[in-house]
């Protein structure tokens, strides 16, 4: 199973994401933001956390217009898997691959702590390793993680089982406590929490491991 992790100027979780995928058994290639096409044979694209382009204009807005992102959008539209974490989630909403947007946290603070999440959908390659309703502990580290979308979009996400994770104790004001959402075909996942930072015993928690193992397992079986 081959994963490409995109690297933007200002990405800072790219290596963490690569390590988590490798630990789960994937081959990982780093992909530079100026490339206009993806290496052939990738099963999945990882869009990492960080502060791409210094969060200028809006978080993820400049990255979403970078050459590689056009290739990432094409990959997703052709049915490919794309996984965006934190800034990666912001980038995916800016590209339009996922609906809604991430606003400034309601308390206006950068929040960096490990928090409880509830698994709300097990119907995806990412979440099939969890139990429905399972509580997991995963770190967040963001200033703009306040998910928003119009009421119709939110009820559609909820009705179609596309809310992957919710916050146990909403830290940032996200509508419906939403922490992560899936695309219509459940192959694109964007989430603000960092499962790659809870994927090794040395991290102090391993609740994110099941996500990487499940998705790598699903690709290898396919």
């Amino acid at each position: 199973m081959k994963v490409g992790v995109v690297v933007f100027p200002g990405s800072n979780c790219d290596r963490d994401l690569a390590v988590a995928f490798k630990a789960a058994g994937a081959d990982v290639t780093m992909v530079w933001h100026k490339d206009t096409s993806l290496p052939s044979g990738l099963d999945m694209i990882g869009v990492p956390g960080g502060f791409s382009f210094g969060d200028y204009l809006r978080c993820g807005a400049i990255a979403a217009q970078s050459p590689i992102c056009h290739a990432v959008v094409d990959h997703a539209k052709a049915g490919g898997y794309v996984f965006g974490v934190c800034n990666g989630f912001q980038i995916l909403t800016e590209t339009g691959l996922l609906p809604g947007a991430l606003l400034r946290n309601t308390n206006l603070k950068y929040i960096c702590k490990t928090i409880p999440l509830t698994v709300k959908s097990t119907d995806s390659a990412y979440t099939s390793g969890y139990q429905m309703g399972q509580k997991i502990m995963v770190p967040i580290a963001h200033h703009d993680g306040n998910y928003t979308a119009d009421a119709d979009t939110v009820s559609r996400l909820q009705g179609q089982g596309r809310v992957a994770f919710t916050y146990g104790n909403n830290p940032n004001g996200s509508v419906g406590d939403i922490a992560g959402i899936l695309s219509e075909n459940h192959r694109v996942l964007g989430m603000m929490p960092h499962p790659e930072r809870a994927a090794d015993a040395a991290h102090g928690g391993t609740d994110g491991q099941a996500l990487f193992r499940a998705v790598v397992g699903a690709m290898q079986a396919a």
Binding site: R58, A61, A101, L103, T106, N146, T148
Partner: protein
């Protein structure tokens, strides 16, 4: 030719920064403020000399990049 783009959060989208500014103004004793919304201003220097064409192009820039139409609205002034 210059264009000034003003990007604001749409009405109904919570603006925590505006709320914080509102709160700070009240702390300073400015109690006559009913609401604060904070946005951003982007000035563009254009090579286009036709105002109508410039406005159309800047509109496309707003839709594609300068504003996120999910949460923001924009207005354009040609200067």
């Amino acid at each position: 030719m210059k264009a000034r783009v003003t990007v604001m959060l749409k009405n109904g989208v919570l603006d925590p920064q505006g709320k914080a500014v509102h709160h700070a103004l009240a702390t300073l004793g400015f109690d006559g403020v009913d609401g604060v919304r904070q946005g951003k201003v982007i000035e563009l220097t254009l090579t286009e000399t036709d105002a109508a064409k410039a406005e159309k192009t800047v509109g496309e820039m707003c839709e594609k990049l300068l504003a996120n139409m999910v949460i923001e609205s924009y207005s354009i002034e040609i200067l």
